[in-house]
């Protein structure tokens, strides 16, 4: 066991000290920060250009054009003759909008036109359509015998909520059942955890594979194996690279929020103003996305109410279990191939398929987190490391979690055994074309 740690320590230290590792670890959060900055900058500069719009309204619907103004668009009515306007609108404005006479109040679709020196973006067109559309709506309401209040009451928003939760709330109890917000929070959290597992498996599993190949191509493996057992070498590698992964993820988890906070702070206040969004607009946006302050508070409350004492340890178990299973298998693949990366692609297919299937199952499982597919996915060993963590926020039955963990542990031993069998033969095999059938035979070689 001592030797496994020696190997793991070397594997860990050589990787962590590499310039590429340090750069990737530090630059990724920095890159995210820069990306946010750039996005904010472009969002601002993109909407920066204030547009002056002259409206030639022949319909007589618009009384006061200034009510249509937005932060980046200013409307003015003009009564000048159309042909004169067409010729010289660009002296004082960017766009000329022409609204033809409007007679039929029942008309549901209506065409207006614009003149502009430059091509208008979809965004600008939509904004103008919206602004003019609102004027038409108000005009139609005013012309009818429906009051604006009656009109607004037509739009009914339905809120389907968990009855148990409402009962508990009505009884003044601390709510135990999960509400709609809980479902949203759970879906996001589940998707995030599932995606993280997917990344970990491919990024760090691939790292283990390349490391094994490197030793084989270097021919140092023969010296190593004369001092340690192949399984020790493989385990040391898997543990060492796993440590590298944990270090990297931990640094990212700390640095990314720190840098994002820094970016916000640096631009004096919040990112929203950096992005050139006024507080009013922000409110509009958030209410449109159901993200008003009280909603955000609700989400935070929901996050807090999740059973973290279950979620965190179980996620960690699946994180390690999933990584361990796949890293072992990738080590076995790395040992079976020589210096030909093309060959590795072919041998990687059988290992990649379950990961990709699991990833594809993620969406349907999140939509129906206690359905048959979810239960199957939680129990099937190669898929469960991605599916089970994704379900954790949805209070899966305890027996399923327990059974899933038991199967995971058994699979860890089983796949490590299989990988060890392949690895011990593979690393000493040179100059031989290896296919899946050949690898299968290695399982039954004597020591």
């Amino acid at each position: 066991m001592n030797k496994v740690w020696l190997i793991a320590a070397r594997e860990y230290l050589t990787r962590v000290r590499k310039k590429t590792f340090i750069l990737a670890t530090l630059l990724t959060p920095l890159g995210i920060g820069l990306l946010m900055l750039a996005a904010a900058y472009f969002a601002k500069s993109g909407s920066d250009a204030d547009k002056q719009i002259i409206v030639k309204d022949d319909s007589g619907i618009i009384e006061d054009a200034s009510v249509m103004d937005s932060r980046t668009m200013t409307y003015t009515l003009s009564n000048e003759e159309i042909n004169t306007l067409k010729e010289n609108y660009n002296e004082s404005a960017d766009i000329l909008v022409v609204i033809p006479p409007f007679n039929d109040l029942n008309e549901a679709s209506y065409q207006i036109s614009y003149y502009s020196q430059e091509k208008l973006s979809i965004g600008t067109i939509n904004k103008i359509e919206g602004a003019v559309g609102n004027q038409f709506r108000d005009y139609k309401i005013n012309s009818s015998d429906i009051s604006i209040e009656t009109y607004n009451s037509f739009k009914t928003s339905i809120d389907l909520e968990n009855g148990e939760l409402l009962d508990q709330l009505a009884a003044g109890e601390d709510p135990k059942s999960s509400g709609k917000t809980g479902v949203i929070v759970g879906t996001i959290l589940g998707g995030l955890m599932g995606f993280m597992m997917y990344m970990v498996i491919f990024v760090y599993g691939g790292m283990v594979m390349r490391s094994v190949m490197e030793e084989k191509i270097n021919r140092i493996v023969e010296i190593m194996i004369s001092s340690v057992k192949p399984v020790q070498l493989m385990l040391g590698k898997v543990i060492g690279v796993g440590g590298v992964g944990l270090t990297q993820l931990a640094i990212w988890l700390i640095l990314t929020p720190a840098i994002l906070f820094g970016v916000q702070h640096f631009f004096g206040g919040d990112l929203a103003s950096t992005a050139g969004v006024s507080p009013e607009q922000l409110n509009q946006i958030s209410s449109a996305a159901d993200l008003s302050e009280s909603k955000i508070f609700e989400y935070i409350k929901e996050l807090k109410s999740l059973n973290w004492l279950l979620i965190i340890p179980v996620f960690v178990i699946f994180f390690f279990g999933g990584y361990f299973i796949y890293a072992s298998l990738f080590a076995a693949i790395g040992s079976s191939i020589g210096d030909d990366m093309g060959e590795s692609q072919q041998l990687m297919i059988p290992v990649s398929i379950p990961v990709v299937i699991a990833f594809m199952m993620l969406q349907p499982v999140l939509n129906n987190p206690n359905g048959n597919m979810a239960i199957f996915g939680s129990l099937f060993p190669l898929i469960s490391p991605i599916i089970m963590p994704a379900r954790l926020a949805f209070d899966p039955p305890m027996w399923q979690v327990a059974l899933s963990i038991i199967i995971l542990i058994i699979s860890c031993v089983f796949f490590a055994w299989i990988a060890g069998r392949i690895y011990r033969v593979g690393i000493l095999m040179y100059g031989k074309k290896v296919n899946a059938k050949e690898v299968f035979k290695w399982l039954f070689y004597k020591d």
Binding site: R10, N218, V228
Partner: protein, 297 residues
Amino acid sequence: MSVLSIQNVVKEYAGHKAVNNVSFDVPQGSIFGLLGPNGAGKTSLIRIITRITAADSGRLLLNGKDISETLIRDVGYLPEERGLYKKMMVGEQLVYLAQLKGLTKTEAATEIKYWLEKFDIKDWWTKKIEELSKGMQQKVQFIATVLHKPSLIILDEPFTGLDPVNTNLMKEEIYRLNSEGTSIIFSTHRMEQVEEICKDIVLIEKGQVILTGAVGEVKEQFKENLFKINTTQPLTGGGRAYDILTSDEQGTTIKIQSDATSNDVLEEVIKSGNVIKSYQEVLPSLNDIFIKQINRI
């Protein structure tokens, strides 16, 4: 007493017997030549001795005890296919390999310093392996093989890729280690090196032992009654006791008839009035024995 005793060892790969019932002993303190053509099973055998693979059947005794994991420290192995971690520094690489052999960090550091000084490469500690030439890497690899002071060192083609100066340096180290009591198994197909270095040999072909023993005994066993005789006048025609094989400035090579002795030959030559300047037995070279024995199979 033998440092290594190999008894009826068999190793089969997918129906092919790479090592077929091999038995031989490596005497304590010997430089032992493990010989055989390419593909004879040398590497398979070495891998069994170094516990890289296990034998299907048979026993291996190292210093009288069954080979087991605890004996890893007693064996040093320099594989034919050399390799080191290219990105690691010489010092840390050697420390790492020594630790895997069971040395502590401080023990390893002391030994490594000793060897780096010995090879006059003290300032290599912080050099990366990839910055070294192939021959230089080989020195590092040699140090890795011996620094844990094993009682048995296995060298697989240790001189390939070395220039004459470094070959000599390495040879001297091998002799020195041997004189201090280390037994050495030396695997090669370079016969002139075997003849120069080895005390005992085993010849393997197709997974089987063809012959084994001390170099002198083997030569004795395969001698063909050849003698080199140098006389004042050229030897003309074979006599009753001998046939002439070849002649050159150094003398004439003769083969004595099976029923005759050297005395008969000398008597005949003296009687013919010729004066003998020198007379010497010609023993077969290991190369000849090697080729003859391999061709016989």
